[in-house]
């Protein structure tokens, strides 16, 4: 049925009726929308400001600044420090997320059995998540200290002395990864464990009756049905590890040398230590771009996996 357009006289009637409605009632939708709008502005304004200032030579060192176009972006793209930072960011994200996913899955599977020990472990394994990453790093710095550290004493039992930990370019990434794993693996465990406990029982019972091996059941039932949960853990962990700052900064400030200078640390150092905000913002915005595209890809993949797991 075709809708008739109101005539001019009808429009005037509608308008006069609308104006008779009290202002507070008319404004209600805007009031309802206001918090969301304020939050959007709170996020959007700094973002637009960051883009703007990345096109200037803004610095705390000078009272004035000028528009410099893409100079800061070109400088960043042509500097070896930038490509090194990209490499470090990628290596760190892969190392931490990969190991946390594997370890988290393994531990969650072990904890899915309900017995006395798993009940205690479920509580104990959450503890690291309650410690701020900076504090956790300081604790690990003490534990890995070659003079007084408990880990040094432990390694001494196996004839290993003065293991360099974060002090050497060869082992710094490994050390930061271990700390990251200690702090964040419990997060992965919680998510996957929640997934395991929500899985339907009937497919597993059917597999057991049909004589399916443990590996068969894991490969063909547990893993496919757990995938949506694993994807959520993966998205959260990958995003956070790409922008990791606290652990690396507290551990080595990006050193030794430039070993752990990822995009976050390089951006921070350029902005806050060297006071070159115009030059630091392209690093931060590049990191945002990387995270944005990876997260979009992963979220659409997650939606697909969720549909598949649900049998749609």
């Amino acid at each position: 049925m075709k809708t008739q357009m109101p005539k001019a006289a009808d429009k005037a009637t509608i308008n006069s009726k609308y104006l008779k409605v009290p202002f507070l009632v008319r404004a209600r939708p805007y009031f309802i929308m206001a918090p969301a709008l304020l939050i959007t502005i709170g996020i959007f304004y700094p973002f637009v400001a960051a883009i703007y200032y990345s096109l200037t030579n803004y610095s705390f060192r000078s009272e004035t600044y000028n528009f410099v176009g893409l100079k800061n972006w070109i400088k960043m793209a042509t500097s070896p420090e930038f490509w090194h930072a990209i490499l470090v960011t990628g290596k760190y994200a892969l190392a931490t997320t990969g190991s946390e996913m594997l370890l988290g899955l393994g531990i969650a599977l072990l904890l899915s059995k309900n017995n006395f020990f798993t009940k205690i472990l479920k509580v104990v394994l959450i503890f690291p998540l309650m410690v701020a990453p900076v504090i956790a790093t300081l604790i690990w710095q003490l534990m890995t200290n070659n003079s007084v550290g408990i880990l040094e004493k432990f390694l001494n039992l196996f004839g290993i002395y003065n293991f360099p930990w974060a002090s050497s370019a060869k082992t710094a990434l490994f050390t930061a990864t271990v700390i990251d794993m200690w702090v964040y693996t419990p997060f992965v465990i919680i998510l996957i464990l929640a997934g395991i406990q929500s899985l339907p029982k009937s497919p597993f019972e059917a597999a057991r009756i049909d004589g399916g091996s443990a590996w068969f059941t894991f490969k063909n039932l547990t893993l496919p049905m757990l995938k949506p949960y694993m994807y959520i853990a993966l998205i959260f962990r990958l995003m956070a590890s790409l922008q990791e700052f606290a652990i690396i900064f507290a551990l080595t400030k990006g050193g030794p040398g430039d070993t752990l200078m990822n995009l976050s640390i390089t951006g921070y150092t350029t902005g806050f230590a060297f006071l070159k905000f115009g030059q630091s913002l392209p690093y931060v915005l590049t990191l945002w771009l990387i995270i944005y595209f990876i997260s979009r890809k992963l979220v659409s993949k997650w939606l697909l996996v969720q549909k598949t797991a649900a049998g749609n």
């Binding site: 959007t40 959007f44 637009v48 400001a49 703007y52 003079s147 974060a166 002090s167 430039d258 060297f274």
Partner: protein, 483 residues
């Protein structure tokens, strides 16, 4: 239809934000170049006029309220203890905030950049003055110091050690040395660099305190694992931070005859790849490899000092006051065993140069309470307070010569073996050894990173590392003019 509406709303929001951003940025530019400058200069004149009516008196800013930003440090602890006395004497209310050192200067820089006048007073180091002064963040204190209506008759600015007070003076021209030009801060205390050592370890092994760098490296060979595994010969800083360069490294750098920058054709040119610099760095790297902690590259002043106190390190090449905090009664395991000697020099070098670090008080250029702020600075850098803080709060090293001459202070410090003697031998050669320029933190952080890379063997030679560092330092200061 709905899509068009959404699009219209989105476009309008973006336009409004961009417009407001444009307005804010335009406003900032105009404000910076004219309004603020005139307003702050007027504030100084107002303070002078207010004081000029009746002459100097401690209560001439009675009723004012000032904000003070402090770094978490023993100097700050002493200040906090005396704030009530200050308020009683002046009628000025003080609102203070204290921030851990790790983030302290981020907070100071951000606050100053807002030009809101908060805080009125803050703690600073000499190197920060080169940034803050160039950015017009801090108040030139010369008009206050030179005005007898604003400065009490007993303030006695000549009582400060020349090198320490001079560290807070600079004419704002990159490349020009400190010690001349306006006063940008007044020192609370300072540190010189020397060799602290465990005298018991040395006595037990019949070792003499090293006087040259060669002797120091030889002794390090002898002190490897001097008390079992986990112990090592010498502690110093090594983290990827400017603070790694300024203590022992920079002092030794100068003692080798090396310079960070020279002025050539009105521009600053780095000389960190000179033969003297390379030789010094080679010896320093040797020292780290032979005697340093395996965790050297993550060490700040705190870890280095703590290892000496815990008996893990036999020596400490760092600030004199770093060792002393391990040697006060009951402070550490090695309390009473720590002694001081002047830093080792390269063979043939007779003149002793020591860099210095000072914690000073500075005034925010945008402060709206300059008279009250100046009285605060005067009180907490005055003779009476300096003596009290040194005796009662162990705030060492005091920047005032009169405190060092005080018999009670001498008695207190004489319990620290070799401390007074080392201080006396070093103080005349103590001054800022870096070339002042506003990119100090960039160039020295790169320097520390390069040192770490050299130690890690990431360069074929020390020369290669220092050549690369020179390029980075030159690039950082290339736009600066030295006239």
């Amino acid at each position: 239809m709905r899509l068009t509406f959404k699009l219209a709303v989105s476009v309008k929001i973006v336009l409004v934000m961009c417009f407001s951003l444009f307005i804010v940025s335009c406003g900032k530019k105009e404000q910076d170049v004219s309004g603020k400058q005139a307003a702050t200069d007027e504030a100084v004149i107002q303070a002078q006029q207010a004081a000029g009516v009746n002459g100097f008196s401690w209560d001439m800013a009675k009723g004012a309220k000032i904000k003070v930003l402090l770094n978490q440090h023993m100097y700050a602890e002493a200040i906090i203890k005396k704030i009530a006395d200050f308020t009683q004497k002046t009628g000025i209310e003080v609102d203070y905030a204290i921030t851990p050192e790790e983030n302290y200067f981020d907070k100071v820089t951000t606050s100053l950049n807002s030009r809101s006048g908060d805080p009125d007073i803050f703690m600073t180091g000499a190197y920060q003055i080169w940034e803050y002064g160039a950015a017009n963040f801090i108040q030139d204190l010369t008009p206050f110091i030179e005005d007898s209506n604003l400065t009490g008759p007993d303030y006695d600015i000549a009582d400060f050690y020349e090198g320490v007070l001079g560290a807070c003076r600079w004419d704002l021209i990159p490349g020009h040395k400190t010690g001349a030009g306006p006063y940008w801060g007044l020192p609370l205390g300072f540190e010189i660099y020397s060799l602290a050592y465990n005298k018991k370890v040395f006595a037990d092994r019949g070792l003499a305190v090293p006087k040259t760098m060669e002797e120091l490296i030889e002794i390090c060979e002898k002190l490897k694992e001097f008390d079992g595994r986990g112990t090592y010969p010498i502690a110093f800083r090594g983290s990827r931070n400017w603070a790694t360069i300024h203590p022992g490294y920079m002092s030794t750098f100068a003692n080798y005859g090396a310079q960070d920058f020279v002025i050539e054709n009105c521009k600053l040119v780095s000389k960190v790849n000179s033969p003297e610099s390379v030789k010094m760095t080679e010896d320093w790297v040797k020292l780290i490899k032979v005697g340093g902690s395996p965790s050297w590259s993550s060490y700040t002043w705190y870890q280095a000092g703590a290892d000496l106190g815990a008996g893990k390190a036999a020596m400490l090449f760092d600030a004199d006051i770093n060792g002393i905090h391990q040697n006060w009664k009951g402070a550490s395991k090695e309390t009473g065993n720590i002694a001081w000697a002047v830093m080792p020099l390269p063979a043939g070098q007779q003149t002793l140069n020591s860099n210095l670090w000072t914690w000073a008080l500075a005034m925010n250029k945008s402060s709206k309470n300059k008279l009250a702020a100046w009285l605060f600075m005067q009180y907490f850098t005055g003779k009476e307070y300096a003596l009290w803080a040194s005796l009662e709060m162990k705030s060492v090293d005091p920047a005032r010569a009169s405190v060092w001459e005080n018999s009670e202070f001498k008695k207190m410090m004489s319990q620290q073996s070799g401390y007074l003697e080392t201080f006396k031998a070093t103080i005349n050669g103590t001054r800022i050894l870096f070339t002042p320029q506003p990119h100090f933190f960039e160039t020295t952080t790169e320097w520390a990173a390069t040192l770490q890379k050299i130690v890690a063997g990431q360069y074929d030679s020390v020369q290669q590392g220092m050549d690369e560092l020179k390029e980075k330092m030159d690039e950082a200061v290339e736009y600066l003019k030295t006239e």
